[in-house]
Symmetry: C2
């Protein structure tokens, strides 16, 4: 009962440096429905421009992706290079050009090393007979310290199907989009419009609810290919099968999103920031992101310092309605502040114990409404600085 | 020809710890006009609430300020404590309560150590005969590594006057307001309405054009007291004397603002981010702040990595109109990118040399309009993390 009709391949093209997989291929034996979300950055890498256009057709057969070079801010040459790479792959696979999607991640502003790319394409296509999704997860890593992969199985009309996905993240992680790259595949047959709406909804509650450093990259791409090879009756909106598919999809995306935060550059803590009692969900999310992105809050997490004052200050400048005198702040179950002031008792000691854990939840209850939201973030450590000060060297 | 009619005092109250000046007083022998700007954070410290109200009267005689404790998120007790401190000082000085302004900076969420405060007030008031503005600059420091002070002299109607000021900053530095605390004094006679408009304008081009970490504190306060003791004809808007006063005021504030950035927590670089060719000044400033606050840009500065791609990416998510294909980026005089792509030649080597300096300018020309703005920022170093992870301990 494994995923049907998809093949995978990954090779070492030595795009940035040799010694690792850095070019991957996802191939669907049959045409697949596609839903995709791309970066909101006005500066968009060549592969994003190309894939956005092609994904708009609603179907695709294959995707190539490289790490080590973002092919962003590379002008006409970058576009020419991306198109050539795509054309070489689609020729070997016997596909029309626009059935192939392209993604890149890595350093911005440097031309693709086309000589090495060209040499790698034949082995890449040859490899589809033997590659795995794990290989793809490996090949898309940049400063990631572990590959990110998730699998779920569902059923529609008595027929089993799979949803599987990979992601890479590490830095430049911020809504919208939160991840740099994530690719999902499913052999379920899914109504095209429902696939799009379900994917957008699931991305909002997962990739768009995580933040590492507040930067939004030029290359962010998340997409799903659904090829129907499982042979199930088509899954549609407004049905139990649709609800079940959406739930599984959300599970896969949230798991990948959390893996990205846990592997945030230099992260030593995984923190859920939960805001309750806001006037609206949008306000709650804005406040949660303000806290999650505050350098003072993130360094306090790293220092295991139960400094709830920095948290209430970050809510205060989030630009949402609030009454400081009603705010309650909890670290897991420990009430740190009530009515906007220190809760007293052993809160300092108990709160510090919570912060010594690798994972904990900060709950901020504004007590003025029913709006809620959760975002996931990491702390800010020496290693974040080291990794990003040295990245290109 | 020194500043007339102001006296200063600073004492050791041991508010957070002993061994340093931490409580200061500025006293004007005559009533002074006041203009003030306060934090936009919805969470406001007790002294901010009190001083905002009192400054609205337009005149004051004295200011007390402490470091080591922000008296923020301290509820009713914090308000009671601040009022008591103020009352004790104003009684000793023989002033109505509302002629005294109050400011605090330091840790959030802890009650003021009132016993130590009470003991320190008599010596504080006694000290006005001997203290200096330098003492005040020392007393307001928290994680600052050097005191921040600036002085300028002007002339109006043949009469000389002085504008002098102090500031403290270090962390939580972000428009609006950029500084945590800054106090200016002038012995010039200034029309009250002009004083307010000139101060607001000068703050916009100085404190509101710097950023260290994007956090806005609960205690930010900048104010000027003008007591007219110089005896000049009143300086008014729309006159050469008014223009000259505004220019001097801007000089003092910009100097203090730059000192704050240079002393940003852990800062090893002072960087001017200049955006040109935007559709408007507001767009230019938004883009400049987006670049200045990007962790990836700031860590690249720290690493002396000529990574212009992170800069164009930060402009791309600033949310302003731009055409990536027109963007030009310079490090001092070295063109790093033109038409949105790498400029080639020896730009990499030459750009890296620029970044090895302690101070440099990044110019981003969007080439779509005439809007310009400059902001000043620091890099993000290991020490920023160390300082903020350990601040309370």
């Amino acid at each position: 009962m494994s995923l049907k009709g998809f093949q995978f391949s990954a090779v070492e093209a030595a795009i940035k440096k040799p010694g690792r997989l850095d070019l991957a291929l996802i191939f669907s034996q049959d045409p697949a429905q596609v839903a995709a979300v791309f970066t909101t950055n006005k500066v968009q890498a060549a592969p994003v421009v190309i894939s956005r256009q092609r994904a708009a057709n609603g179907s695709a057969r294959a995707l190539i992706v490289n790490s080590g070079n973002a092919n962003a801010c590379t002008g006409e040459q970058g576009m020419t290079d991306a198109l050539e790479c795509g054309r070489r792959v689609s020729e070997l696979l016997g596909l029309p050009d626009d059935e192939l999607l392209i993604a890149s991640t890595g350093v911005i502003g440097q031309a693709l090393p086309m000589d090495r790319f060209r040499k790698a394409i034949q082995p890449l296509v040859d490899g589809v007979a033997v590659g795995t999704l794990e290989d793809v997860a490996d090949a898309i890593m940049t400063t990631d310290t572990f590959p990110k992969l998730e699998r779920r199985r569902g059923e529609a009309g008595g027929v089993g199907y799979a949803i599987e996905g990979v992601a890479k993240g590490a830095g430049m992680i911020q809504p919208n989009m939160a991840t740099m790259l994530s690719f999902l595949v499913t052999d379920a047959a899914v109504d095209p419009d429902f696939l799009k709406s379900a994917f957008t909804e699931a991305v909002d509650g997962s990739f768009n609810a995580i933040t590492v450093d507040g930067d939004t990259s030029t290359n962010d791409t998340a997409l799903i290919m659904a090829n129907g090879a499982a042979g199930n009756p088509v899954i549609k909106a407004g049905t139990p099968e649709g609800a079940s598919f959406l739930a599984l999809l959300h599970d896969v995306l949230l798991s990948l999103a959390k893996q990205i935060v846990k592997d945030g550059e230099g992260a030593t803590k995984f923190v859920e920031i939960r805001v309750k009692g806001a006037e609206s969900h949008a306000d709650a999310k804005k406040a949660a992101l303000s806290v999650a992105n505050s350098l003072l809050v993130k360094t306090a997490f790293f220092g295991q310092d139960a400094n709830w004052g920095r948290i209430i200050a970050a809510v205060g400048y989030a630009g949402i309605p609030m009454d400081p005198d009603r705010v309650e702040i909890r670290f897991d179950d420990v009430v740190m502040a009530r009515h906007g002031i220190f809760a007293g008792g052993d809160a300092e000691t108990a709160g510090t114990e919570v912060l010594k854990q690798k994972e904990f939840t900060v709950t901020i209850d504004l007590h003025i409404g029913a709006g809620e939201a959760a975002v996931y973030t990491s702390d800010l450590s020496y290693d974040y600085v080291r990794i990003n000060a040295d990245y290109r060297t």
